[in-house]
Symmetry: D5
Subunit: 201 residues, 10 copies
């Protein structure tokens, strides 16, 4: 009967109910079970900020809840699926498309019913919907600030190296690396895109 | 007398007058004199879009006009100054500060009077003023789009790798590289920033 | 009883529930059953991004769910209805009006009760509500960028060809064609509108 | 001496002074001299709305004044340069780059000093600067309205035809055609762009 | 029992449920029963775009559903109530106040319980809430465009005719008329407002 | 020499200088010389708010200064040109195009050199540029408020009268009338536009 | 059982249900029972525009529904509580804080359970949330327009009377009075605030 | 010759030059010459913030410079002209119209040439242009905040007192009074407007 | 059964139901039980403005309701947890991360199930989501106004003291102190951040 | 004669001309002449970003140029004037008022003619005009971010400490301190404002 009543909740509150009924040990686990290779995470894993749900596709709560239950990092999921962890995170937020193989792999690593996942992930992403600009969160704002402050400089140097055109954000890949030296940790973000020259017409 | 009349021009039109009186051979030169190592450029060099002048400091037209007259790329200037070409371009747009040594080197490589350059570059940059957001120029917009589409994914992966905090945009460096394969040219932008964890207070 | 409880869901979550209970094989089917002429699709068919539902009329989830269940492309539906596939897609998003004949045809090809469809489609469209500008999705943004970058040029050439006036967006049709050459695929969008000269008064 | 004093005007007022001192017979000419093939225009030619000058590069007044003096249409210029008239108009508004050959041809057809033109056109365009969005001018607004109303429909049909990706606005061409039937004149705008599928990473 | 469960829906989805359970023959009716004088409509009647409901008062769905069930035009309702059809439509959208007599008449012509209507219509309108500006719908946008393009001209002519002041939008009436000539149909909107001169103080 | 120095003024300050050097007796005149039929005005005539000049074409100060010098109303000019006074005012603000005959008539009635006027008025208007929305001036704001408050009602009634489509703002005319009764003066604005039904495609 | 089902409604629709189940005789009453001193109102009393509920605290529907049921004006409530009617109305909209005594008095005059009222009113107001700026409702817009048009003048006169500083909006009171003369009714709004000079530091 | 050179300045810088060449003793004077009744001011008089000049009519610098030279308060000017000091300040900022008598009085009290003043003040005000909203200056922002926080409360109480309608901001007067008690100074702003009921149509 | 039905409410209305079913004696308590050291508060404690709930994580209503039930101030909670009260308040609004120890302490002092709290607080904060800018609430707006008015001055003095760089808002702490003198109470906000110099690259 | 010609420059370019003709040794000096106590600065002094001039009063370039010529820090000026350095910097940006004594002291320490300074500083500041929000410069943005992220927390703690009210930004002072520990430098900003409780009315 609990199940029937849960159906009466909206999708949004359903996920909340889930959380409060089955609180996962996400934080503690990550501190205690570092030896499990797949789910090992030095830091707590990323979970879904539930206030974002109304602007996300239904696949997002599905995927994030399974991720939380398994206490597994994007890095581990990415390794299993064979894609980059940023691409996997983008897919979780509805910002990237999943191939049938991706869906199969995600279903395996996250223990989600493949049919349900396929149905929820079958559409074409409605990109850009997760974020209002300028971003308010400081972690994302810093990237925005880099574009704002260095945008003209990037444009000038790109043109000098490549001529008139753009670096594609579609024929594009990106990754994040961690580097550590005596001053502390450094995040390194690499963006790599096909250079597209303007057509002459 | 020409000098007196030029004084009667606004600073903005002054640079324009300069241009029309002494048209530099920027484009042609870059096609003809590839053997000159310092000014060699496969593509035309970046010059100043004059409609930007009202939002730039007076150092910007000074620097860009000298750059145009010398037909020299940011890469070549950067090599002389000992900084990255993106940093040099940012400095040209008033987005980065010049040390006294930088000013000396810029004065040398661009044949600008060091005193004048020192005066114009002595202030602290008023960063972010060169660009309205969202950027309208497609080359810069693509970077903005990357932040908009992948922002949440970057945040999630950064947190999993580093915990709660931000990648600094201040204790930060960036560069652009060109890669070529059989599919064409690829632009690679690397952003590297110190990881700053939130203070617990 | 499950049905009664599903009624207790909001219209929005109802469609989500539908999806998870009856996951259609949209993607797989399109890879496996290319021989079925009506539903054949080289690529997965377009389905409804559910986060858009609050800004769409109730006909949109009705139509898109039937389309998903039948795994049928806009092209196939358009052929059956006798309209262009862009017009049909616009109608699905509540951006175009359906004639009684259109409703009859849609009811046939999508197996939707005609009375229900007639009731949901009887109103005059509230156009423009599906999209915030500037568009965040890159596919739509590129069209916006074309207007932004070439708007003045279009205006100038239109005036030279037609005088003072506008190309109507009402007495108007549009279509998308696919062209393929050795460089790859090309999308060709044609917009054709009645020229309206300004009245002299 | 008149020349010296004209130098004392700002670039903006210079063009205005030009206009009032040497009023061209643009409108009359187009009605009277239809036999001259190069400058023939059924409608008055497009000239520069001077209130736009502050957001345009210095090449724009140069080019538009020469165009006005010659009373020549974009179509005629385009034929001479060997490019499309929309591309030529975009170039006039600083939205497209000119090759050295283009500059040579423009110099010929418009009787502008090639060196001056080369200097003014040597930079990389700062695209998008000519237009605030939403566009206020009805002629351009109609194009914006088409994107707003049909954006989602275009996206859906493009995805069904091409999969996940975008139609490039860079590897792109566009043209305007005029069609006439018994209902009047019709403007036909064609946009053709390379299809770019999202990279899988 | 179905009724009880329908109560469990939100007000918004309630109206949707209504629609799907009891689809009215709005469109067909208007084509078939032109002889009925009260409900005769050459075109389908206007119904409520349900995505607007969250920004409307509860009287709006009540009134529009009754209107749809009766398949009656604003013109016919207005004739019964003794007001202009634009005023009646404004009242339906919560943009005008109903007098007790209006409520009585509306109750009669729409078969709505007078007490319920009185309760829902007793408040003072929260005007302007139905529309975001600039309007996205082309029908409304054209009116906005008229204000944008002719606003200064209206102001200048009004001042020449009346002096310094405004045309009241409160002590105000408006109507829409249809005129037909050999070129087709013409809409004529008349706005008539009291001239208010600025007080001298 | 005074003339040469005046050339050194910007176009904007030139008009201001004009005003202060030759103050016209606009207000007084309108009170004293009511017998002159062409320039008679019960209220002071409309002149140019000079802070608007940067967003107007050069024809606007030309036309308004001549109007002020002649102390002539839009009504009188319109009668001479054979157009409506709102159209003439729109033309003065650069919002409407002048035919060669209009230019000839304007030249006559305003004593402006026809060649200069032809040059300044030969371009296609850049419409909408004179006004930011929402309008701040109360006289224009009231029109905006009417659209905001009655927009949905207008749309609904228009659709009931005409079906799906728009009232054209291009194939359009408008006029202002003054009515007086015992309550005072009333302004009556009539807008009349061609009805354009949406094309079915 | 009706009660149980009503619980299943959202808080928002709950209040709507209330309204439709128990329609109060607000308008009629105000016309019929003018002799009752406490609830007498020449005009209908103000009730809650329900579309505002999502931006109001839960106390707002509680208070407004009791006010509607009692058909009592703000003036009458204010007299009972011993505060100004504008302050009471602000309190109803969640824009002012209630003291324990206020709560007691409100509970008495409105027949609301004191404990429930105390719980709902115990927080600190989240001021400003009820209104988007610029206000769309004409009644509120006029106040906004006064600030827009006279803002600089107010500032100048305030500074001349008081020096550099501000009129406090916190140490502040306001009231509305009605004056009637032969021209009709006049509303008089008085705002009185402590003058705060800028600190010198 | 100084005069000729001053002509070469823009109107904007002209006023600045004026200031620096003839610095008035505004502040000192107000402390020293309190015995002169007309120009006495307890606080320094209000002068023109010169950065506002581009958005003001040419009459504003004319009037404010004369006011500064005479070191006279708005109160004193108002007394001479016979209007309220807020109205006079509004007139100085181009927000109110001057009658011929006002112009005569202003000319007298400010020692400005009447013809010049008449020419500069003859137009109809372009109201609202002096201020961007929300206001940034704290003195004006507090008034805006009062509207934002108390707007709904004002509306509710106005409707209860007057019915459906608005307080006119045109048939309107306002004043500022200073009150002092043992807690300090209090500013009292009174706004009084004609009540306009909505027309029933 | 009441519990089951409450589950059928959305998360938002659930918290509201909670409030109305179990009204806490927050205000009274704070006046009556000042002797209890942990929950003592001179002023009513801060509770959650429920209209904020949709933009807050599920932990916020959980924490605030427990706080209200215990009638405990942030200061008291902070003392127990060993953090600053501003940090604790930020944590309640989802703007700061909780360590496992924080969660344990919060669970103790607020009598919340530790597992549930851990689940709700395990994610990384989505910072900045609680507030739209500019802030409408006067208490927060004053801080915004300080940044707006003193921003350039802060920047200038910071640069003179530290060189080119920023004060970190991440490696940062802040506190609020209360000071009282004969003029009344003073709030003192201290912000202390690591100085980050720009990297030279 | 050079002086006369310089007058022909706009105020804006005048300051630029100044700079280029007499480049001050600001940077070098600060490194070389640390022994001069008044002008000693560990870091280069703050100068005026000239692109800000159009939004600043004429006193700003006057003050900043004198500051640059003297190579003197705000700290040193503040010490001489007897105010805080943030207040002095605010005064330089036109954000604070100068008393006659301040003007006298500034004239002394900066070697500016007292009469000219008095004239330029005699007006009431137009506060807030120097900065667009959100601030683009990272140094100022961090302060904005603190308000955005901690705004609700500040409000909650302030209310618990002081009750309902605000911290004044007018009866207010602020300062910046530098602290150094083994981790580096820390900036400490203190804001102290009078607590203003809401009036009960």
């Amino acid at each position: 009967m609990a199940f029937n009543l849960r159906l009466a909740l909206s999708a949004k509150s359903a996920s909340r109910a889930f959380v409060s009924v089955r609180p996962t040990a996400a934080f503690t686990a990550s501190r205690c079970f570092h030896s499990t290779p797949v789910t090992m995470a030095q830091h707590p894993i990323a979970t879904l900020n539930e206030e974002l749900i109304p602007r996300l596709p239904p696949s997002s709560p599905t995927l994030f809840e399974a991720k939380k239950k398994k206490n597994i990092s994007f890095e581990a999921i990415a390794k299993h699926v064979g894609r980059d962890e940023v691409a996997i995170a983008a897919l979780f937020y509805g910002q990237a498309m999943a191939s049938p193989e991706d869906i199969q792999k995600l279903s395996e690593v996250l223990d989600i019913d493949a049919g349900m996942l396929e149905s929820q992930l079958s559409g074409f992403p409605n990109r850009g919907s997760t974020l209002d600009m300028p971003p308010k969160d400081p972690t994302i704002y810093r990237l925005y600030e880099i574009v704002q402050n260095y945008g003209q400089a990037y444009k000038a140097v790109l043109h000098e190296k490549f001529g008139d055109g753009i670096m594609s954000a579609i024929s594009f890949s990106t990754k994040i690396e961690k580097e550590t030296d005596d001053k502390g940790d450094w995040a390194k973000i690499t963006m790599r895109g096909k250079w597209l020259p303007y057509s002459r017409f």
